[in-house]
């Protein structure tokens, strides 16, 4: 039915080579009421990178990711996928390239069965038959909803509705996956599921971008962190840089705090330990060094 969309979805996925790079060239955006949401944002995301975007509510994170799939068009500047201006790419084809899971699942759930909800996206991309079934089942399994295929989405609790919305985007198998606040409202198991989804997608060579307030999730699941404040990118780098002591003043100005592991590591002079495992490793290294009489045996 969606003739325009069908080649995009099926052809694009499968090999890492099909994953496009993303480039924002001095992008600015103002809403029709004049609110300036993005100011001169420059950002390049390579194919297969995993990037977290952090910042206070209203700092422009959601506005930024809506530029990646053409939902918003920059008022100034350009957004390029593999060097092509997204303005020139048909919206239906963009949907096959960039999957975006929104923060609030209730803004998209409409089907009367969980499986139909998940099938909606890939079906719009022209996927049919056994491949559609396989995609739906895989996405439900990845989000822990395998047993709920026949359930009405609104009979699920909020946290599982949110996982369902995530599954419905996963089933589209887009080379670029964008998640807006995937961990809010999730308990420990739900957060672990989201973490697995991110790791699997990144492992498959897809680009994963997530907006999050959960600094531990950010530090542990992403290779690069982009900090936004008042519509600008004010800091970007690997977690050990962004959460490193030198960056704390800038983080504080963006109303953010580094994860406790990073703070404790800095206090103990262990260097950059953005994750808990990095912290433990650093503690072990220090002890190892100390027991060997400070000779630096490692």
């Amino acid at each position: 039915m969606t003739a325009a969309g069908s080649p995009a979805g099926s052809a694009a996925w499968g090999s890492t080579a099909a994953v496009p790079s993303i480039e924002l060239e001095v992008v600015s955006f103002a809403y029709p009421d004049g609110t300036r949401a993005l100011s001169d944002v420059g950002l390049r995301i390579e194919a297969g990178e995993s990037v977290a975007i952090v910042g206070q509510n209203g700092s422009g994170k959601s506005t930024l990711v809506r530029h990646l799939n053409g939902l918003l068009r920059p008022t100034a500047g350009r957004v390029l996928l593999d060097g092509r201006d997204v303005r020139r790419i048909h919206v239906a084809r963009l949907a096959g390239l960039v999957g975006l899971a929104f923060q609030n699942p209730d803004r998209q759930l409409f089907a009367s069965r969980v499986s139909a909800e998940v099938a909606f996206g890939p079906r719009n991309l022209g996927i049919r038959g056994p491949e559609l079934d396989e995609r739906v089942q895989a996405a439900l399994a990845d989000t822990g909803l395998g047993a709920e295929a026949a359930t009405n989405p609104y009979d699920l609790g909020y946290s599982r509705r949110k996982l369902l919305a995530l599954a419905s985007v996963l089933a589209m198998r887009t080379p670029i996956l964008v998640l807006d606040e995937p961990t809010t409202g999730q308990d420990a198991r739900g957060v672990a599921r989201v973490r697995d989804v991110v790791a699997r997608a990144a492992g498959e060579g897809r680009t994963v971008i997530a907006i999050s307030h959960d600094m531990r999730f950010v530090a542990e699941s992403f290779r690069r962190v982009v900090v936004m404040r008042e519509g600008r990118v004010v800091l970007a780098g690997a977690p050990d840089v962004v959460f490193g002591e030198a960056a704390w003043p800038e983080l504080g100005a963006a109303y953010l705090e580094p994860p406790l592991a990073a703070v404790a590591g800095a206090r103990l002079g262990l260097g950059a330990t953005p994750t808990e495992s990095a912290f433990v490793t650093a503690v072990g290294r220090r002890r190892g060094g100390a027991t060997a009489g400070g000779a630096g045996a490692e």
Partner: protein, 273 residues
């Protein structure tokens, strides 16, 4: 008649549901104390909030067995507007709680006291008291529809406080908030418990918040109380993880260091304070 909000063997089943959402829950909340509630999703935390605040069954129906008493009075025998003055309830999402009919934060916070028909001067006095207690007096002239998530949640909190309840029940009040908003709400709650003497029941996924402000913590599993006790003990309990609750970062770090066969020294303990 004894002070305190007390659940004794409280079981609750939603109208039309087969199983019980809460089963034989015992719980005690004293004035001025903060009791944290944790648990996996769909373990009965939200139901507990509705039962404690008396909205289940009086407003949403269903069947309650056992006893829920607020300062010695059964909630089942109390009408909703009287309950509202004994026990205030705050949900996750500020937008569904604000009345949507007021032009300023001041009037929004006044909505509850106005419903009681109090003299205008007393309403205004209560509003300023509540705004002060939450620390948002400067927001008074603002339009409630144009607040940030954290500000909106604080206005909703002040709106509930303005009814001067002896107890407050909060259902994941920070889940939609950014770190700054979470901090604002946590600080306001700590201040309210300390200064107004209200007893607070706080459902929260962010166990760091509970570690910070809760005196006691209860962990629910499938509608029953799986763990309960002083916050520091419960949050360090090894069973927390299998109950679907993420321990606070302090606990996780200590555990990870020990699991690596390393000694947990005083210097390390100091570094995570």
């Amino acid at each position: 008649m004894s002070a305190g909000l007390v659940l004794a063997g409280a079981s609750y089943r939603y109208a039309g549901a087969l199983g019980a959402a809460l089963a034989a829950v015992d719980l005690r909340l004293e004035p001025g104390r903060v009791v944290g509630v944790a648990g996996a999703n769909e373990s009965g935390k939200s139901t507990l909030c509705l039962v404690v605040a008396g909205l289940a069954p009086s407003v949403i129906g269903g069947r309650l067995d056992g006893s829920v008493r607020i300062d010695g009075v059964e909630t089942a025998a109390t009408r909703p507007h009287e309950l509202a003055q004994r026990c205030g309830l705050l949900f996750q999402n500020a937008s569904t709680q604000l009345s949507n009919t007021t032009a300023t934060v001041l009037e929004e916070v006044a909505f509850g006291p106005c419903n009681l028909g109090l003299p205008a001067a007393e309403v205004v006095e209560r509003v300023w008291w509540a705004l002060r207690a939450v620390g948002i007096e400067p927001l008074a002239p603002r339009d409630p529809a144009r607040l940030s998530g954290g500000q909106g949640q604080l206005v909703a909190l002040a709106s509930v406080l303005a009814l001067r309840p002896s107890y407050l029940v909060l259902d994941e009040p920070t889940s939609e908030l950014d770190p700054a908003g979470t901090r604002l709400v946590a600080e306001a709650l700590a201040r309210i418990a300390g200064e107004t003497g209200a007893g607070i029941l706080l459902v929260e996924h962010k166990t760091e918040v509970l570690a910070h402000i809760a005196d006691d913590v209860v962990v629910l599993e499938r509608g029953t109380v799986a763990l309960s006790g002083p916050a520091a003990e419960v949050l360090a309990d090894p069973r927390l993880v299998e109950l679907g609750v993420e321990p606070p970062a302090q606990v996780r770090l200590e555990r990870a260091v020990r699991a690596a066969g390393l000694e947990w020294s005083a210097a390390l303990a100091e570094a995570i304070e």
